[in-house]
Symmetry: C2
Subunit: 201 residues, 2 copies
């Protein structure tokens, strides 16, 4: 077929590593599991990536940019703070539905003791930018007064937390995977509604 169908060995390794690392975390993952899933020998992994550490860091770097998306298109100067947050919620829940293991993976990794270096890879502009928009609309009397950092972490948590607590949610509400998807689908307007009620004067 065309070039598109040509999957290189390196790509096979990365795809397999991604799946295993995301599901099991660093210390729960085995190079053997990755090799099995990629359909090749363990030695090849080391040929391409030298060590488990290096392979993991490669995957982490790829994923961290997903977890804290750029979202330039959302930061429209003409949009209100509430509109920006609403857009964020919609896009973010959509993103997480396609990458349900992402939150737990990032959170466990940056909580690893002795690996503060992972933290260095976090972008910091996102929060600052959101606060700027909040301050602007506060001055215009378009939003109620709140502690902006508290509000932002709340929005973030409301989007992210259900994916980390998925097994608990499924158990407590007797949901299967399909019903969980529906639950998350309905969540976007729900959380957007909370934000309006919290912020609108």
């Amino acid at each position: 077929m065309s070039k598109i169908d040509t999957i290189t060995t390196e790509e096979k390794i990365l795809a397999a590593a991604e799946e295993i690392f995301l599901r099991d975390g660093y210390s729960g993952s085995r190079m053997q599991d990755i090799a099995d899933l990629a359909g090749m020998n363990k030695a090849l992994l080391h040929y391409y990536f030298r060590s488990k550490d290096k392979l993991f860091e490669y995957i982490f770097d790829k994923k961290i940019s997903l977890m804290f998306p750029k979202m330039e298109e959302l930061f429209d100067e003409n949009a209100s703070f509430i509109e920006i947050l609403s857009g964020f919620i919609e896009n973010y829940i959509k993103l997480l539905m396609a990458n349900p293991f992402l939150p737990l993976f990032v959170i466990t990794t940056i909580n690893k003791p002795d690996r503060e270096d992972f933290l260095e890879k976090l972008p910091i502009f996102l929060k600052r930018r959101l606060i700027e928009f909040y301050q602007r609309d506060l001055a215009l009397g378009k939003v109620r007064e709140h502690h902006p950092a508290q509000l932002i972490i709340s929005v973030f948590g409301m989007c992210v937390f259900p994916f980390m607590a998925k097994p608990i949610l499924k158990k407590m509400s007797n949901m299967n995977d399909e019903e969980f998807q529906e639950f998350m689908q309905k969540r976007t307007p729900e959380v957007q509604g909370y934000i309006k009620l919290i912020l609108e004067p």
Copy 2:
């Protein structure tokens, strides 16, 4: 001294295991680390608890009841739903400030593949009970209409998530541990305020 000061070997092991398991998770923990912290030999751990699995399960059982507290005192029939949620938020954030690693520990454990048995240990009455109170107040016109499960998971997430994302929060807001404590202290009235705005008609 008195009996109070007499710490048995078993208690020393449990205290050390708790600290290590909570910080590093199951697969990230080493029996050697626990023995070192407890100031004794590895073999003794096996003498008292047979295996790493058994010791871990012992700790998990102790912790899971903390994560989903009984809270009978909160379920006062005379209290409104908003009051009950407010009481929950206050008590829960206080609890988590004293046990900051608890959320991540429980979440990672119940997400472990092939260990669905951990899920069986979750209590399920909590959510059901809260929904009953919500339905009652909805019929009385005392709360706005929302999807109750979505609301409850949101409250839960707003309390729990900041502790899991603590390293990220500290980094993004340039906080030290003391400032993080202050941040969480201020969080109780903040989240209570959100709930009032969301629920009050």
